[in-house]
Symmetry: C2
Subunit: 365 residues, 2 copies
């Protein structure tokens, strides 16, 4: 039987609760497909800060790198909100992405028929939405240099960042377009063959460069239909008619904004997983929701986003499509049976807690 090592990073808030459910689901789905896992739990985020004073301990990064895949719960909380930048839970997450070199963040936003009413959009606008946002994750203004604080020529205080993208030739730094474009074209090819690249090329040189490289890479994918859209228009079109999109590719900061907007269009961010992939090495899988400190340790969290992240881990991280399908189907079955956590509850369904939702999913795996 096959054996994989998985690093679990429960993190903060509801993180440990949802990771515990996803772990059990992984074990069962794996065993039914002849797969075994070695799990290693490591501290990360606010809980690592409390434990050892940094948001991403060296041991955690090392374990993550050595394993076949990483499953993260959630990080952050009020307690650490006022920390200096290098002591913020979020900084640990950015260091983890950088350390694992997971430059491609895949964020599906799908409106499930069972949950179409959860969307704030009208039913006819929301139903059938199925967008995949491919976000560049280790470059752009998040990592660009120079950055910092200082004074300008007029002696005024300033804060500044650099939005920068390069072609991909060298391997020793983290800003480039071509490789993320390739992941996006491959992704679109496996979906409906339509890729929309989002930029602000009417204003920003970094975007003009982005667009030029995306067009150059497009020559390798004649079967994929490429279009371009300005980011302000994309923010509108996601509200006006999200069904027009198949796959979207964009830079780190625009992807941060648009993928969250797309998630909210589905109305059920407690359901949405994500995958962050590199060229090789272990991928990072996490729900898109936050650590929800307000409902932590109350058995109220929706574990399905993390369960579906475990499915993405199997599919994109390990190539175990069958085990992944088992989990996806189990989630749909459980919804069909009417089980709902509070965040997606509507009249006529059965309200359950985090643990019970996990048990119901296990029954259908």
């Amino acid at each position: 039987s096959k054996r994989y090592s998985i690093t679990l990073l429960p993190g903060d808030g509801i993180g440990p609760e949802v990771i515990s459910v996803a772990k059990n689901v992984l074990i069962l789905a794996g065993s039914l497909e002849g797969i075994e896992f070695n799990f290693q739990e490591m501290p990360m985020g606010g809980s690592a800060l409390d434990l050892v004073g940094v948001p991403l301990p060296d041991e955690t990064l090392l374990a993550a790198k050595k394993s076949d895949a990483v499953l993260l719960g959630a990080i952050g909380g009020y307690k650490w909100d006022k920390n200096e930048k290098h002591l913020k839970p979020e900084t640990g997450l950015l260091q983890l992405r950088e350390g694992l070199e997971v430059f491609a963040n895949l964020r599906p936003a799908t409106v499930l028929p069972q949950l179409v009413d959860a969307s704030t959009l009208k039913k006819e606008v929301a139903e059938g939405v199925d967008v995949m946002v491919v976000r560049e994750l280790t470059g752009g203004i998040y990592f660009g240099k120079p950055r910092g604080f200082g004074t300008n020529e007029d002696g005024e205080e300033i804060g500044f960042n650099t939005e920068v993208y390069a072609t991909y030739e060298a391997v020793d730094h983290d800003i480039w377009v071509d490789r993320i474009a390739r992941v996006a074209f491959e992704t679109a090819r496996k979906r409906h063959g339509k890729l929309c690249s989002v930029d602000k090329a009417n204003v920003l040189e970094a975007s003009m460069f982005w667009r030029k490289r995306v067009i150059a890479v497009a020559a390798e994918y004649p079967d994929v239909e490429l279009s371009h859209m300005y980011v302000d228009n994309a923010a509108m079109q996601l509200v006006r008619n999200p069904k027009q999109f198949d796959t979207i590719v964009t830079n780190n900061i625009f992807g941060d904004i648009l993928s969250d907007e797309a998630s909210m269009i589905t109305g059920s961010i407690g359901m949405l997983p994500s995958a962050s992939l590199g060229s090789s090495g272990s991928g990072l899988f996490e729900p898109i929701h936050g650590s929800a400190p307000d409902i932590a340790n109350q058995d109220k969290a929706n574990p399905l986003a993390t369960v579906l992240s475990a499915a993405m881990l199997l599919k994109y991280g390990l190539g175990e499509e069958n085990a992944a399908k088992r989990i996806e189907n189990a989630v749909l079955d459980t919804l069909d049976k009417g089980f709902r956590t509070g965040d997606i509850y509507s009249a006529g369904n059965k309200l359950v807690g985090c643990k019970e939702m996990g048990e119901e999913v296990l029954k259908s795996v």
Copy 2:
């Protein structure tokens, strides 16, 4: 009687049609309040490119600066889309904003009761939405230096931009937070006293600096309730529950994205005006919609966004509140009577063209 000089910049596409309507409305509303106007029409955008080879001729900027206020139709079109950056209509618009030093862009997104069905959001989510986005317009990554193309230390090609914000002490450059924060606090004070500052202070130094200055300025406005939100969350919250917002203040690029998203939430971007104001000198007023080349010269455009921009011109540009109110009320009356251009048409109403809509508004001024 009072006399003001107004520079009209019809621009491209439907620009001339909507400006012509707004001009007539201004003349009538003015005359009823003892106000006269000198209008001067100047070329700008694509039509200026065709005429004299630049998107913002010196004469146009000079006229705009010398007048009491500027009313712009719309710029851009397929014809000039592939132009180099300095020959794009959009570049003319950025030069105009910079030249007039209109650093504060006010963009209301209001769901009118008559048009609540136009929103793609459910009625209970959309009705009553009334958000004002205050966008910094002459700084940040739009204007930050260094910018351009080049090679990095690994010899790779790059494109780059700088996101930078400073405090406001010197007057000879255009990147600062304090003055836009003041405009936002003043605006919130005249509305419902709530200001939400949107940034990405968990990642970007430019945003940390922004937040620090907004908090410093807040001391002058103890009566305004200030909150902070990350831009990705703001993009979600606008979809989830737009009614939670009163006034939003944010940087140039985030404002570009969020104000367009907020506009689309209303479902009727053909209705939405904007004002761009400096510390002194003439303000720039324009509809938020584009030049819509597909329907240009077909008498199909909705002139109401430009008519409402003329109302903002009277109110914010000239301090003529009574004349402004006349126009706003005339627009509401016209909608109450059921007149609709194609973009906001729904069954049971009267479909009219651009000119007829203008005539109907004139009847109610």
